[in-house]
Amino acid sequence: MPIAAIETFALSKQFGDTRALQNLDFQVDAGEVVGCLGPNGAGKTTLIRLLLGLIVPTSGRAQIFGLDTQRNTVEAHRRLAYVASEAGLWPTLTGAETLHLLGQVQGQVDVAYRDVLIERFDLDVSKKVRALSKGNRQKIILVAAMMTRADLLILDEPTSGLDPLMEQAFRLCMSEAMERGQSVLLSSHILSEVEALCNRIAILRTGVLVEMGTMAEMRHLSALTVEATFDGDVPDVTGVPGVSMVTVQGPVLRCQVRGPVEPLVNVLANSGVRELLSREPSLEELFLSHYGAATNEEDSVSTAG
């Protein structure tokens, strides 16, 4: 059996009184793309910083391709590339200079692919980082990570600040990485992104791994939030199959639907509905419906340290 790209053993991290991560046993196999989902403060960034050896576990340990993240940090880092959710770059360097520097430190760059990526992300590398928007800075660190063709990509909310067009470019990069057999750990709080890209999903909540499985196993998570406005009386939909989380505010009805929407649509259509909106629920809403409300205190666990 090949060595796992990432393996953690009862990995825990405590900041002062807050338990940012508790007893995490988790594995990403070689060539696998795993999504890590969770609301803000769930411990995603803590997990990633532990995997990178930027912070030290309170207990437990982690391995990258069998290399201990604390003892063999440098060797482990030769096998991986990392994209932070917020780019810590040098304002006075240009994009090209930044990519050169980071490539030198990494020691391994596919120059041709780098140029493809610069083109694809429409990046003006002659501009100084200071003059770039958040999205453009994010592109630089994305290119810096992808151009290494590292065996493992660790991505912490990599698309934050990117516009939809660039998200498409990112997804293309991801599929290229998958074709090459690179492993990926993708942390996100955008369900659709993870859904589209990942083989397996890990769900973190207040520092605990609550679920882990394939997308099919997680199907029960996908739901639709429906908001309907009525001219007359608001109908009672609580008994309709698949409907939950019903709230009524004046003429407006809000609820969530899982599975086929037909029964709900039928009820609404017969009740004089004036406006109908539906969208994918936010991760927070999903968590609320699935795992119950976390107390605010637990929610605001610090991850940055």
């Binding site: 880092h77 810590g88 660190i141 709230t247 809000r254 340290g305």
Partner: protein, 550 residues
């Protein structure tokens, strides 16, 4: 699911609306006034110790006349701390000992405070938050300047109040109006450089750059004043430099309030320019041509050390230039400066026994100030390392195949290298200056003297690195605290009798004034060894700790 409060039901307290227009003034004012009072206390106490120490050390008129003869017309001394006018009186001596020292301290305070509270806050994005209210950019600059005015008043009032109280003492006898005028002269430099810092904040694109430009101007101002005070034929040059104007105010001796005119004009002009420029640029941008794009220059950018060189190269060059300029000026006035020693029979004997000439003796003491400058460089390097960590830039490096030991160790070695080169520059340029004046100082002794100024900075670097490794969030404050503490101990220790245990806590206290005395290699060795040990502890601790943000 709970129902959110409807918009109309939300009522902000009325006061918060009333005051949003002054939020920057209050935010900045609170901090600058607090700091102004703190430094006013330091200034006032410094004035008090100088005045009281003089009145107890030089009791008789004869003793005071002798002091006047020895120091009164010495060019070497006046170049460094300003001309000694009427130092046979308590007020005259107090003014001489305090004015230049406190004016420079005030100027540094002004630069650091204003660049931090304007450009620094803007860089950190906090002004952006405050400005989303109803303040305009120009309005916010006015508010910040108003806050600085309040801070200056706090500094002035505190300094003046203590001076007045001390002046009342029967031993000192300084009139209240004299004390107030004196305090104004002391604070004048702070006022100029506070507004200069604000102006540079508008011109530059980062706090670092703003502070760098303003500091360079302060250095130039000091160098010009040094030249002006090194000979009567050059005295007119005093009118060309802000520190010269402060000196021309001649407090407590022959007051010349006309010197206040250029000071006030400068403050007003700088202030007006600041406000004008603030309205002309976008937040986060700068007025000076700041090319937002350029061709890649890749030399140096092959690793963390090259990166650091690349980022600090202009600062390093400026430092090297000012170190060399200082050394040249010092060397070229060494011979005349040394006359003070040869004119004093007792001192001459002491130095003759050590085999030192007047010039050597003078250089031995004058060069010690470089130890302070180098210690500032060392503190700056600790603070740069820490800000690289807190800004997340270090994450970008250490998430790659780069070990923590080689990063921090490399940074420390790089700092040591920079300091050693600085020490060599000091020795070299002083020797060149002295040789041009045939002061009879050997090259090797000056090289040794230059390197002799390094151990305190090296020890401070080690201590800073240790705290950086152990408690990163304290590292910067700790390093500067040691530096300021050592300076205070040295300043007060020279005047009043201080317990030697306290003196020993000063980083600078173990230095010998080479080349007037032989270099104490044992002590230097111990300090360097301590630096190595503490730095190693720092590196070892840094290996096993979390990287931490702000």
């Amino acid at each position: 699911m709970s129902v959110l409060p409807v918009e109309g039901n939300v009522q902000l307290p009325r006061t918060s609306r009333l005051f949003t227009g002054t939020v920057i003034a209050r935010f900045t004012g609170r901090r600058v006034v607090r700091s102004g009072i703190g430094w006013g206390l330091v200034f006032g106490l410094y004035v008090a110790t100088q005045a009281l120490a003089y009145s107890t050390s030089y009791k008789t008129i004869a003793a005071r006349r002798l002091l006047m003869r020895e120091f009164g017309s010495n060019v070497g001394i006046s170049a460094i701390v300003g001309p000694a006018l009427r130092i046979d009186t308590v007020p005259g001596f107090t003014a001489w000992k305090c004015l230049t020292v406190l004016a420079i301290t005030g100027a540094v305070w002004g630069i650091l405070t204003s660049t931090k509270l304007t450009r620094g806050e803007e860089d950190a994005g906090r002004w952006e938050l405050l400005l989303t209210g109803n303040a305009t950019r120009r309005g916010s600059a006015v508010q910040a300047l108003g806050a600085f005015g309040a801070g200056l008043c706090a500094l002035l009032i505190t300094t003046a109040a203590i001076s007045i109280v001390v002046g009342h003492s029967s031993k000192v006898r300084i009139s209240a109006s004299g004390a107030i005028y004196f305090a104004i002269a002391i604070v004048a430099a702070a006022a100029i450089f506070l507004t200069l810092g604000a102006l540079c904040g508008q011109l530059s694109s980062t706090r670092r750059q703003a502070a760098g430009v303003a500091s360079a101007l302060l250095g130039a101002s000091y160098a010009l004043r040094m030249v002006a005070d090194s000979g009567p034929s050059l005295a007119w040059l005093r009118w060309a430099t802000p520190l010269g104007w402060v000196e021309e105010m001649k407090p407590l001796t022959t007051p010349n309030p006309f010197a206040l005119i250029p000071i006030l004009v400068t403050v007003v002009v700088f202030g007006a320019m600041t406000v004008y420029l603030a309205g002309r640029r976008d937040i986060g941008s700068s007025v000076l041509p700041d090319r937002s794009s350029s061709k890649p220059r890749l030399h140096f950018l092959n690793g963390p050390l090259g990166l650091e060189l690349r980022l600090t190269r202009s600062t390093l060059l400026a430092w090297a230039a000012s170190i060399i300029a200082y050394g040249l000026i010092l060397g070229s006035i060494a011979k005349s400066g040394g006359k003070i020693i040869t004119s004093s029979p007792s001192l001459r004997l002491v130095f003759a026994r050590l085999g030192a000439t007047g010039a050597q003796a003078y250089l031995g003491f004058a060069i010690l100030i470089m130890a302070v400058a180098f210690s500032f460089v060392a503190s700056g390097m600790i603070s740069a390392a820490r800000s690289e960590e807190s800004s997340g830039q270090l994450d970008s490096l250490l998430a790659r195949p780069l070990s923590r030991v080689s990063w921090l160790g490399g940074r420390i070695l790089q700092a040591v290298g920079t300091l050693v080169i600085g020490g060599i520059f000091v020795g070299l340029s002083t020797w060149v200056g002295a040789a041009s004046d045939h002061a009879g100082v050997s090259f090797s002794s000056m090289l040794g003297a230059g390197l002799n100024t390094l151990p305190p900075a090296l020890l401070l670097l080690g201590l800073g690195a240790m705290v950086f490794g152990l408690v990163p969030r304290w590292a910067v404050a700790f390093t500067y605290a040691i530096l300021v503490w050592s300076l205070l101990v040295e300043i007060t220790g020279g005047i009043v009798n201080v317990n030697h245990w306290i003196l020993d806590t000063s980083d600078f206290h173990q230095m010998t004034p080479a080349p007037s005395m032989p270099i104490d290699w044992t002590t230097n060795g111990v300090m360097i060894a301590l630096g190595v040990v503490t730095a190693s502890i720092g590196v070892a601790a840094f290996r096993r700790r979390d990287l931490k943000g702000e």
